[in-house]
Symmetry: C3
Subunit: 338 residues, 3 copies
């Protein structure tokens, strides 16, 4: 009945905290993943060098939504083998408690020549990570290469759920090609062991690539950040914002986190456990939004029982995207509340 | 003679208040409308819900350049029929005085499933609106669909002048596809009952779509606003800026209006009649620009009489675009002066 | 040996002062210039009207990296012939000392109808300029036309080195088409007498085209400036920033220059010799960067002698782009030091 508000070629559209429904769209032009997918919150994304035993053991005490076991920038070249092997062990033995967290692994980039080795070792563990991160995706061809190797690597395994794929935009070229990269990612998601789920804006490498100098206010990155959000949301993906480098300055972090949330980012990279609470608060739905969502879902269920169709709620016509959005605010609120 | 400054594949280029000549370009690559078109000022764009009799009757007292009889967001779902029918009556009987204003109608979006019904009813009136607004244009296909239906709807009628078409960019997807949407719009303008004339940036729906939070300073929209202007001007279209929501804060409205005019927007959406004077002032050519234009046109006519060709005026070489621009500043000044 | 960090389809990537290595990339997807090219600094780009004898004679006393003998906007229509002929003479006789400066010529735009005449006259001089500037490049076709005419014009000559080509983006259309323009420029560079080397953002014409009003803070140009840098760097080109019009306000100039350098621009247009020192300082590598580069190059040579491969330096893995970058910081420091 609600369908009357949208025609056949319906595109996802929503209001307010729409980003938390980012991965739920069912008939977007770009993303044809046919079924509703579980929303994995990634408000704070924290990297743990795969070879750092001490930091690995601390994972259960970390509050970040998303823990990234890192093979890439956090690991020196001479430690690459050690990192792969430790990450494999952690996954294989499930010795570390990831409950309530997105357990993910960052491979080295396609162009590093190390990515295939990372995959072969890490993905031979008995248990797979929920999410894999692929840095420095500069062209759609990188994703094609990755999908191909991933398929081969996982050929003999049965997946309960597809791996979620998080890609990094961190060069001028990747920014220019981002819509094409996402289009390819969405196509490959249909027939690969992964579902493209998020874009991380890697601002340090990006600044290095374009010769920019990072400032705390980040005016030099305004276009790039807002463009990344726009592309991500056009493809119903999460968007993860830049690192705030001065990790002792929690007030500056709070400001930048709220600014990023206000721009439409769904989360932020952190480089220190001390940054997690500030960031997760900034990227959580505010209480009044949760109340709105609960009331809307209740009103909808009442209308359904009475056999009514489309209806208005607090002055807005309610269509399916708004309903999905409300449900997901509740889901995120439930998932993320302490 | 002035032609010497431009070769055959000449593109429109101008200076200063060029935006008011936006629709005059004759040989742009993108827009091949072959004849000079009347410039319809839309400094303040005010929506009037089509079903609100009281507000309809107030139209003659409104000072806004552009009055939009609304079928869409201003009208509850249960009132859609009433709005269509009242708008049809207003157009049919010409009972309301629109003199000096752009009389226009906003249909529901293509994807709403309501657009065709809106067209059939509204455009069956004896008199047609000068302009139609199409919201939520997310892809070139929307315009193709619209052109097709409009042609059918108006098949038996003879138009004195083509309908002007104003489209809304209000989602991440529409922003990414905006150049393609405008290209299609320009193509369709050649052979359809409409001429694409303006882009409105619908920031509330856009913010909802990308999960951004509106602020008065609107830093979160810098990229989107400046991109919309750039695309609009590349296609010689007017560009209509965001709503300033806090309608009691006229000083904040003035700042944002002047900022928008400074970015190249040609007008702004308003949500309250009290916003109109501030907005129309901000989007009017300043007196010194009018003086410049008058002097330039006079100098040109003198040169023409003396049989001279290209010439310089106050230190700048004068080419055809500058002349057109000057003429249109005078036209806008004449049209819009109290 | 360092190759292990990159696979075959390796793209250039670097850190910090990467922009000074802009033209060194050897295997970028976009730019297939197969050999390392000399870096020509263009920190301050100063135009000298080709017909202004007095200003021409002052060139040896100017400190700007890049002197542009102008046929275009700085020259009135009635003086075009005089400018061409004087510029030809200056090049032919080498009567003016350009030592340590990029000696370049700005032609009129393709669409002006004057460009071919400029080329025929100017490029008939015995000595050619190192660089040519082509303004108002609005489409890839402009570059194709230019390459074609340039080939014809230089058909009988043997070039020691290809001419460097600097193009101007100065309209809404050129901004939208900039990636395509650069792609065409890179393709044509393979088989033409020019190498595309830099993009200048011509903000005055751009503002005129989109109807924007220039301010000193230039917030109205944030998107356009950052987009130009992004495209330029994706194609490994230099990016030259806007003019600061208030030439007496050196403090404002300093701020805008540092902001531009911070965004990734490699240089800035100047309109007065008094602006040169401020600008060149802002676009020079800071001493700590020069120290870093010297130490890195030394460490690399040591590793090479010891037969070691990839290595880390001050906490970062060193790959070929970083090494090239370091070498070019040293080269720029050497070239530009007083």
């Amino acid at each position: 009945m609600l369908k009357i508000l949208r025609c056949a070629s319906y595109h996802f559209r929503s209001a307010g905290w729409s980003h938390i429904t980012a991965s739920l769209s069912t008939t977007s032009k770009y993303q044809s993943a046919a079924t509703e997918r579980r929303y994995i919150p990634r408000r704070a994304v924290l990297y743990v060098p795969g070879n750092d035993e001490r930091k690995l053991q601390k994972i259960p005490s970390l509050a970040a939504d998303c823990i990234v076991l890192d093979c890439e920038d956090g690991v020196a070249l001479s430690m690459k083998e050690a990192a792969r092997s430790k990450i494999r062990r952690v996954l294989h033995t499930q010795e570390i408690d990831f409950s309530g967290k997105d357990c993910s692994v960052r491979f080295n980039s396609v162009e590093s020549g190390l990515c295939e080795g990372d995959m072969l070792e890490v993905l031979s563990a008995q248990h797979l990570p929920a999410t894999v991160h692929l840095p420095k995706v500069d062209s759609p061809e990188h994703l094609t290469w990755f999908a191909d190797r991933l398929k081969t690597t996982l050929a003999t395994r049965t997946l309960e759920e597809k791996l979620r794929l998080v890609i990094f935009a961190e060069s001028a070229e990747s920014l220019l090609q981002l819509p094409e990269i996402c289009r390819r990612g969405a196509e490959l998601s249909q027939d690969s062991p992964f579902l493209l789920d998020a874009i991380v804006f890697g601002s340090d490498d990006f600044c290095a690539d374009i010769g920019a100098t990072r400032t705390n206010e980040a005016r030099e990155l305004l276009f790039a950040r807002q463009y990344v959000v726009t592309v991500a949301k056009a493809f119903k993906l999460q968007a993860v914002d830049i690192v705030y480098i001065d990790y002792k300055d929690l007030e500056g972090l709070r400001k930048q986190s709220e600014e990023g949330a206000g721009m439409g980012f769904t989360g932020k990279q952190v480089i220190h456990p001390g940054q997690v609470p500030v960031v997760q608060t900034a990227f959580s739905p505010p209480p009044q939004k949760v109340e709105w969502a609960a009331a809307l879902v209740e009103a909808f269920e009442q209308h359904q029982q009475e056999g009514k169709g489309a209806f208005t709620f607090r002055g807005h016509m309610i269509d399916m995207p708004l309903l999905l959005q409300a449900r997901n605010i509740l889901q995120l609120a439930a998932v993320t509340k302490k």
